[in-house]
Symmetry: C2
Subunit: 193 residues, 2 copies
Amino acid sequence: MKKSIGKEMPLYPAPVSVIASYDKSDRANVMTASWVGICCSEPPCIQVSIRKSRHTHDSILIHQAFTINIPSSKYIAETDFFGISSGSRCDKFTESGLHAQKAPNVEAPLVEEFPISIECELLDTLNLGSHVMFIGRVVNTLVSEECLDEKNKIIPEKISPFCIAPGNGDYFALGEKIGKAYSDGNKFMKRKI
Amino acid sequence: MKKSIGKEMPLYPAPVSVIASYDKSDRANVMTASWVGICCSEPPCIQVSIRKSRHTHDSILIHQAFTINIPSSKYIAETDFFGISSGSRCDKFTESGLHAQKAPNVEAPLVEEFPISIECELLDTLNLGSHVMFIGRVVNTLVSEECLDEKNKIIPEKISPFCIAPGNGDYFALGEKIGKAYSDGNKFMKRKI
């Protein structure tokens, strides 16, 4: 039996990403975001939704670009710090000891220590209420060499990403590999459909 | 050192959700979607991006509603089947043995066996290219009683959700709890910021 619990959004599990941008003074800043998701394959687009009050909100509008950085679980405390502090009041890179680096293709920084950085150009914005959705068109992705196989494919376990249970706040590690997409469902295929 | 790998979207890890809707004949149908993400807190909204060719695309437009269902990992094969088959050619509920049930608040079905069903009314659509983004306003969420604590809060481990490595296709279980949001980052707080 299911029970109604109101307007909750337990989209389990949600990714934990770090959005990097330059502010109006061209200072590199970061914020943690889980209100994110892939939203188109061609062109490749990812949406990142941000409260209007966040320092990052104006920064993205000014530079029309941002990067989405995927932290490894060893940087869980730094990542959480990026979410609870404000770039208008401190330099998050200095405080955390992590390093910003200019992204090669967009007017935004990336987090050097994180294994994945996705470079995005701002394609569109949508004001939804508490949050503004920034739709980024992916122009390039950078991955730490040690997380790639010989064919330049990402080895997910080497990224060691973590995720969050929205509404609960628990961070979880990636668990065991338990299946394969476009394959496990074949057992229900009676005929070619 | 990081290496450019092109326009990839390794937003690790991405949730695996099942979108349920009624089609033009009022038949319950489901499709698996990972191009999803929370996009606003107030009003609570989730975006689901779907190829125009999918049966679900038209169904949502007709009924202006859908549910987002979070499968447990024990239904990994059924969930994968919902992604590789088409509702225009088969009845996915019949073929998989799972059951549809009318959602209490919107014109859409839900998947009875899955622990979470989020009821959404269509708020807006955005044509991005290969995919159309459907923005759903959450009107209610239903959770299996055995996954709730005595305060009606979800126990993430009891949901036993799984996730996918986009671009790779591996399904992963939820791993261990390794941290707490709005807390782990405090160690970098020099002052109240």
